[in-house]
Symmetry: C2
């Protein structure tokens, strides 16, 4: 939407945005340790000293770059049987659209900041939405964590491990394969006595 404001963006805003975009790219490709301020500055076509002037430290820059909004919709009106599929599709679209997810994934083995940021995404964004979808709200944290584990695993297997059979999948295929899994994580029985009933059909 156009606004009445006619002034051009401030030069500092543009510089800041360029640094953040370059940082997301380098952190996503190289991980936290190997991404250097120098490489980020080169990617942004500016001087490394300027990166430090804007963000102060590599840690601060990472903190500003690794903001990941899941942009979760309200699935309250989604037909129950289509829920897993809808959640799967959203995650596949979201992780393709935003490098911040890849940043957190790659940086987490060596960055406590990335780990706590990912924990916040789980508890602050996904859990509240899942809570509204399940009959027993007490199970929401576990269900949300299980979904996230498969999202992380699929992303890791595709982008870091580069397993050929998964790389060649289309987005639609990934969503359709994960749909029944997420349906299980949302609706299945998750209690400890399941092992005694090995072979029982998957609970809906």
């Amino acid at each position: 939407m156009e606004t009445a404001r006619t002034e051009t963006p401030r030069k500092s805003d543009i510089t800041r945005a360029a640094i953040l975009a370059a940082a997301r790219c380098r952190f996503a490709e190289d991980g936290y340790d190997q991404a250097t301020i120098r490489a980020i500055a080169a990617e942004a076509r500016i001087d490394a000293a300027l990166v430090m002037r804007y963000f102060g430290s590599k840690e601060n820059l990472f903190s500003a770059a690794a903001v990941f909004d899941l942009e979760l919709p309200d699935w309250s009106d989604t037909p129950d049987a289509e829920l897993g599929q809808a959640v799967a599709r959203h995650f596949v679209d979201r992780w393709n659209a935003d490098d911040a997810f890849k940043v957190l994934l790659r940086a987490s083995p060596t960055s406590e900041l990335a780990v706590s940021r990912m924990q916040e995404v789980l508890s602050g964004q996904l859990e509240p939405v899942i809570r509204k979808l399940v009959s027993d709200p007490a199970t929401a944290p576990l269900r949300a964590a299980l979904i996230t584990s498969q999202v992380l695993g699929m992303a890791l297997a595709r982008t870091v491990m580069r397993f050929p059979p998964l790389i060649s999948l289309e987005r639609d295929q990934v969503a359709s394969i994960l749909g029944p899994v997420f349906q299980h994580y949302l609706r299945g029985r998750l209690d400890a006595d399941l092992p005694k009933k090995r072979g029982a059909p998957l609970p809906r």
Copy 2:
């Protein structure tokens, strides 16, 4: 099993084993980049120069330490409906028993060697076993990769991300929760036209 050999192990074998154990520990905790020869030597209670004399380089040491044998059993006689559960239980037991899996998981974002090692585990160990279990052998690579993606994701979510609801799960619970998922990955339809049939029950 006791053998007739009475000679004691050579001192060099003991030193070598101590270095490898220390390396697995440090690589698993710190990842490839942050684990130093100095820290590994300290963990093994020996001089850093000795580590280099035995293995030549950090890369060689990593290569020797990050050998991961899935020790997959033959599941040919497992009743079909119990297959997913059996596979899940094996993976849960295996990743708890061997630090090499954690080494590969933590090192992979920054180490190409770790990535190719993990690709070898998938194609050289898991795929051949899965091929014997499925009706269409052409789907074996995809099915094996899907199982691995959830194994990796669960391990990442527990050991790196430390999601509270997953950390507190018992091994039996993890296996029982993942059982139906692996059954889907082994037996479910994985073709691209599934999205058109959203809401269909999980194929067995």
